[in-house]
């Protein structure tokens, strides 16, 4: 990169090894191009110029690793991102979920929670929130702490409101939050049924059974090997006929598990476990 940080492939391997041995996080099967970008991003923010420095800090300063992990993972998210997906969710999936006495949904890789808030709003509008339990997990504890607070920057609300309307929302969007000078707080009753907790898709196991799993734009950071492994985990976490929602540009096409799913919406990347 012309910002002066140059990383060789074997140096990335070494960093991954240090993190695995010392802290138990395994990034070996992360998508290499974006992982390398993220490492550079961290080094830039920390003012580090060489891989030697990075290794030194990782090995000798556990507090540096905490910061590094928070900065390494992509934590960008939006409310009602891809309005067409949420419209499809409202029209196709939510009515089917209504037939379960208790609805269980897993947001795998929820970042700072914006998609979870969106889901809660949709369930509220469908009259289903009271009998839903949403499990929202992320690898990054700092994200979860933020997500629990329900805080969204005010500067993003204009866009989120437009997304909400495009998704088929007809309520007054501002009724779902309390506005402050520079941020809004999502109404606490919307988050009452949400359990935020740490879960690492790479190393952790199945922990419950769900009728809907949203894992949108999480698998893109993994290589094909790891995508295959995680898709097995997601499959095993679904009830028969349970739904799986991926990001708009994520495909099951070349995945081992593909035959076990049927497509519900090709455009919105919603799939259903066959049996």
């Amino acid at each position: 990169m012309s910002d002066g940080i140059d990383i060789l492939p074997h140096e990335i391997d070494e960093i991954i090894q240090v993190i695995r041995e010392q802290y138990g996080y395994d990034f070996m099967d992360y998508s290499r191009a974006s992982f390398t970008r993220r490492v550079k991003h961290c080094m830039q923010r920390a003012g580090l110029k060489t891989m030697y420095e990075l290794r030194y800090h990782l090995i000798n300063e556990p507090s540096f690793f905490v910061w590094f992990l928070q900065t390494l993972t992509v934590n960008v998210t939006e409310m009602f991102r891809d309005p067409a997906f949420y419209r499809q969710l409202r029209d196709t999936v939510i009515p089917r979920l209504a037939s379960y006495p208790i609805i269980k949904i897993w947001h795998a890789g929820c970042a700072t929670g914006e998609e979870v808030y969106s889901m809660a709003i949709i369930l509220k509008e469908a009259g289903l929130l009271d009998r839903t339990r949403i499990y929202a997990t992320d690898i990054n504890p700092a994200n979860l702490e933020k997500a629990r607070k329900g805080i969204v920057p005010l500067s993003a609300m204009k866009e989120y409101t437009a997304n909400y309307i495009r998704s088929g929302g007809t309520e007054d969007f501002s009724s779902y939050y309390e506005a402050h000078p520079d941020h809004v707080v999502i109404r606490p009753d919307l988050l009452q049924k949400v359990l935020f907790s740490q879960h690492n898709l790479v190393t952790d196991q199945v922990f419950n059974e769900f009728q809907l799993i949203c894992c949108r734009n999480v698998l893109i950071y993994f290589n094909k090997n790891l995508q295959n492994r995680v898709l097995h985990l997601l499959y095993d976490s679904l009830v028969p006929l349970g739904y799986l929602a991926l990001g708009m540009k994520e495909s099951l096409l070349f995945m081992e598990i593909r035959p076990e799913f049927e497509g519900v919406s090709e455009a919105s990347k919603i799939f259903r476990r066959k049996h």
């Binding site: 998508s31 974006s34 991003h41 991102r81 893109i220 990001g247 540009k249």
Partner: protein, 188 residues
Amino acid sequence: MNSLAPEIVVVGGSAGSVSIIIQLLEQLPETFPFALVLVIHRQKSVPSEMDKVFGFSSKMRVIEPNDKDFVVPNRVYLAPQNYHLLLEQDRTFSLDYSEAIHYSRPALDPAFESAADVYGPRAVGILLSGANQDGSQGLAYLVQRGGRALIQDPQSCEFPAMPLAALQVVSQAEVVKPADLNNRLFSL
């Protein structure tokens, strides 16, 4: 400048670039030996028909790749809305939803940079009209890794800021007029 046949050509454009890209696609021969990857600053949450517009011009399908799709020669790809487009060593695309760069996602810098990492001297970067600074760093890196850079003649640009910024940091780049673009590309 090297004389290796290009394996990938990454075209980056912003404001004022669409007509140039249409012209590039219209004049594209039926077969060409590289993957042509278009990365254009575009809006994110509104439905877009850009792939169809370009497909119409090139008489071939313009593909918005899914994550981990293989990069195949003789195909035209368009970076999808609201993701950065990256390339992996195994010749697949990788999508990335990290922060916007120069207010853009897709941004040009990461596409140029990752193409350079994977394809080295077999990468070509083309930078077209645009109103910000995106693409300069990436193109400089691509040249540093042995790739070749073409930049649209700023005088021919509706919005010359982007080519001008790039010319400041990529001294080895070749300045090309839109009318000469296809000829130049196919003589590399």
